[in-house]
């Protein structure tokens, strides 16, 4: 059996590691960095550049350098927020099969999971080199409010990267696990995760070895990227005013400004005042470039981002309210993500919670730590008495990894910690008249299974379509449609006579499966919902990067294995494509007959 690793697959940065008998170890690149940019660069001349070496190419080779792919994973390209996010990306994104985004670089069309798989492969290889063992399984973290299709996309990415995805764990939950692991505490903690693309907030009860999520919420399009965008807009208007050139319609120019914006933002974290010249702003096809001067004070910056920061505090307020807790009930606040370094964020956070956030946590690495611990626990690979050596800040406060003692010959896992997570959004079922009713409210424990009886809305209705939504609104169209399920051949009868038993099952990865059964005929249909925009690949083929120094025989063997895997994947993709196609036809038909 190979290694089971934990991976924090971030919008901006990714971290991977393994829980070993000496503690959690994170994989570093050749320069010693443990945090790796989630960037893939595919230069025109061929080859593939990954991680921190690819990051610098955002400036030098923008149209072939893919970043923030996580913002697109499992999304419908036609969704307004996705359109907005796409507008600021310098690489082209097109609409593919099933309305999923397709990234086009160097004439190559790639699904988003394929791109994310490249990031995962990079991390996997770093781990394999460093820990000198083959990696087979992984726990991958996702934002708590990721939807079904985003989760499926992430799992798909893992599969393409050749990993058995043992579990998707919510990022804030992983952070809490790393924070409280082996500390036998009895505390309520709040996790505030503000990264590059997303914002998540969770409240957990840590009851020695049980980590129970009491409530969670977040915003998907709220992160450091959005702040960069705001500063870039500010720089653009500055340019327009002083040089009378509007860079907004010019992608190369906006890309340059975005990169500068991120630097300015980070500079303002430790300085009161930023100013200088941004040069090399290419403003037309012939490569003409200009420079612009700017000045931005911390105060001005704070007032620019105030709205964003308030939105994060609002989420905290809502989660606390929904769990029936008050600020004073929270024992500790854990900060996660690069954007929590912004002084205004820290200030508002400590004001709101009336306490200083925990400082022993490294906001960049804590999620990967938790993922690595969970991976080891699921694999049953960590044994009693192991200790975790943690990052710099944690080093003087070491976290023991004590897995408990399994009963002899019985349970192979000591498994001293247990994550009890919840659904981040209410799952609903469509009812008559354009309305919906909640079936499993948000913050329901997972895995969970609920069954309820429904009936037909009309007499002699021979078919019902069970539409499933995600969100908090009664009106169907104010929620996100997850997909639908169709039950046919219902025997004729009066309105309300049919008895349709509907079961929602949410699996441990927080993915919904729906089942419907006609109690009179015993007809049953079951489906993982087919989501519009979900990744159904048109091209699963990945190239095989062979490690150097292999004998011809070894290489041939690897190639053969790879080819087999590829064929399997293609077959599967073909099946899924056919299924999705069928589903669409059905849904269209329903619109024609106008049944509800």
């Amino acid at each position: 059996m190979g290694l089971s690793i934990g991976i924090d697959l971030g919008t901006t940065n990714s971290v991977a590691g393994v829980a070993t008998p000496e503690g959690v170890r994170l994989a570093a690149d050749s320069k010693g960095n443990r945090v790796h940019a989630s960037v893939v660069s595919l230069p025109a001349g061929g080859g593939r550049i990954l991680g921190n070496s690819a990051k610098v190419r955002k400036a030098t080779d923008p149209s072939q350098t893919i970043y923030s792919a996580k913002r697109l994973i499992g999304q419908n390209v036609r969704a307004p927020l996705v359109q907005l996010a796409m507008a600021s990306l310098p690489y082209p994104v097109e609409e593919g099969n099933n309305q999923q985004p397709i990234i086009v670089v160097g004439g190559r069309r790639m699904t988003v999971p394929e791109v994310s798989a490249m990031v995962l492969t990079h991390l996997r290889q770093l781990c394999e080199e460093q820990f000198e063992e083959e990696v087979t399984g992984a726990v991958i973290t996702v934002p708590a409010n990721f939807s079904d299709s985003q989760r499926q996309g992430t799992k798909e990415a893992g599969r393409i990267a050749g990993l058995e995805v043992m579990r998707l764990v919510n990022e804030p939950t992983a952070a809490a696990l790393a924070y409280g692991y082996g500390r036998s505490m009895d505390q309520r903690v709040a996790v505030f995760d503000f990264g590059g693309g997303t914002f998540d907030f969770s409240v957990l009860k840590i009851d020695s070895d049980i980590f129970e999520v009491l409530g969670t919420d977040g915003e998907f399009f709220l992160g450091g990227d959005d702040i960069d965008q705001m500063i870039a807009e500010f720089l653009a208007s500055q340019m327009n005013r002083t040089l009378h050139i509007d860079p907004r319609p010019i992608p190369t120019a906006m890309n340059r400004l975005s990169i500068a914006a991120e630097q300015i933002k980070q500079y303002l974290t430790s300085n009161e005042e930023a100013g200088g010249t941004i040069d090399g702003i290419v403003v037309n096809n012939s490569g003409k470039s200009v420079s612009v001067e700017f000045e931005l004070s911390r105060d001005k910056f704070d007032s620019m981002i105030e709205g964003y920061v308030e939105r994060t505090i609002d989420v905290c307020r809502n989660v606390l309210a929904s769990t029936g807790l008050e600020v004073k009930d929270i024992d500790d606040v854990i900060m996660v993500g690069g954007s929590t370094r912004i002084p205004l964020v820290r200030q508002r956070l400590s004001e709101y919670f009336a306490k200083e956030p925990a400082t022993r946590i490294n906001p960049d690495e804590v999620v990967a730590h938790g993922a690595a611990i969970q991976a080891a626990m699921l694999a049953g690979a960590v044994h009693e008495g192991e200790r975790g050596e943690l990052t710099d800040e944690l080093a003087d406060n070491p976290m023991p990894i004590d897995m408990g003692i399994p009963e002899e010959g019985e349970t192979s896992q000591g498994g001293a910690a247990l994550l009890l997570d919840v659904t981040p959004a209410t799952l609903r079922i469509a009812t008559a008249g354009g309305y919906s009713e909640p079936f499993l409210e948000k913050n329901s424990p997972i895995p969970i299974e609920r069954t309820n009886l429904f009936t037909t809305a009309h007499a002699n209705q021979s078919r019902v379509v069970i539409e499933c939504y995600r969100g908090g609104a009664r009106r169907q169209d104010e929620n996100e449609l997850l997909g639908s399920l169709e039950l046919n051949d219902i025997p004729p009868g009066d309105r309300g006579e049919a008895e349709i038993e509907v079961t929602f099952r949410v699996d441990p990865d927080c993915i919904l499966h729906v089942r419907a059964r006609d109690l009179r005929t015993e007809n049953e249909v079951e489906a993982k919902l087919n989501v519009i925009g979900a990744p159904v690949s048109d091209n699963f083929r990945t190239t095989l990067d062979l490690p150097e120094g292999l004998s011809e025989k070894q290489a041939a063997k690897l190639r053969q294995k790879h080819e087999k895997e590829q064929q399997k994947l293609e077959k599967k993709a073909e099946k899924e494509r056919a299924k999705a196609e069928k589903q669409r036809v059905k849904m269209a038909k329903r619109a024609e007959t106008g049944e509800s």
């Binding site: 049980i210 399994p406 896992q413 499993l440 329901s444 997972i446 299974e449 441990p508």
Partner: protein, 167 residues
């Protein structure tokens, strides 16, 4: 909380799987009908600690593990309902209606079988002895046997109810 041993777990699955449909939420969580929030949360943590599928991934066969997930998912649903006063009230009303439909006041035989299945074999035996004693009019030993069963399952609403009826 120590995870259950494989033996305990398999015995539990064998008992509970056939009875799953007939069990109410209180029985699934193993709490009395008047349990408060704290008791409910404690019971859920206890059960999760013992039988959560993540804790038994590597000792069970895939099909056993699947069954465990099904049972756990039902327990989670019981927890979701019982911890919320609103859901709990609605559930009690629905449940009362359902009961009325099947039989009046007395439990349906299938429900008794389900509730019994939850108990350990020893407690089941004690319960049967109590019922037999009651039939012969020996209330004292019926009570004694029920008490002994209750000592094994102090939270069992089913046994408490039976004891109350006997008196």
């Amino acid at each position: 909380m120590r995870p259950w041993s494989k033996r305990e777990l398999l015995a539990y699955l064998d008992r509970i799987m056939p009875a799953l449909e007939g069990l109410d939420h209180f029985e699934l969580l193993d709490v009395p009908p008047d349990a408060d929030d704290k008791t409910i949360q404690g019971a859920f943590h206890n059960m999760a600690g013992g039988l959560h599928p993540d804790r038994h991934r590597n000792v069970l066969s895939p099909s056993q593990h699947e069954r465990l997930i099904v049972v756990y998912a039902r327990i989670a649903e019981a927890y979701r309902v019982l911890r919320s006063p609103e859901h709990r009230e609605k559930y009690l009303i629905d449940e009362a209606k359902r009961r009325k439909k099947t039989t009046t006041t007395v439990r349906a035989p299938q429900e008794i079988a389900s509730a019994l299945a939850l108990l350990s074999p020893k407690a089941q035996q004690l319960y049967r002895r109590a019922i037999a004693a009651k039939r012969t009019g020996d209330t004292a030993s019926a009570v004694l046997n029920l008490r002994m069963a209750l000592a094994k399952h102090p939270q069992s609403g089913f046994l408490k109810e039976a004891l109350k009826k006997l008196r």
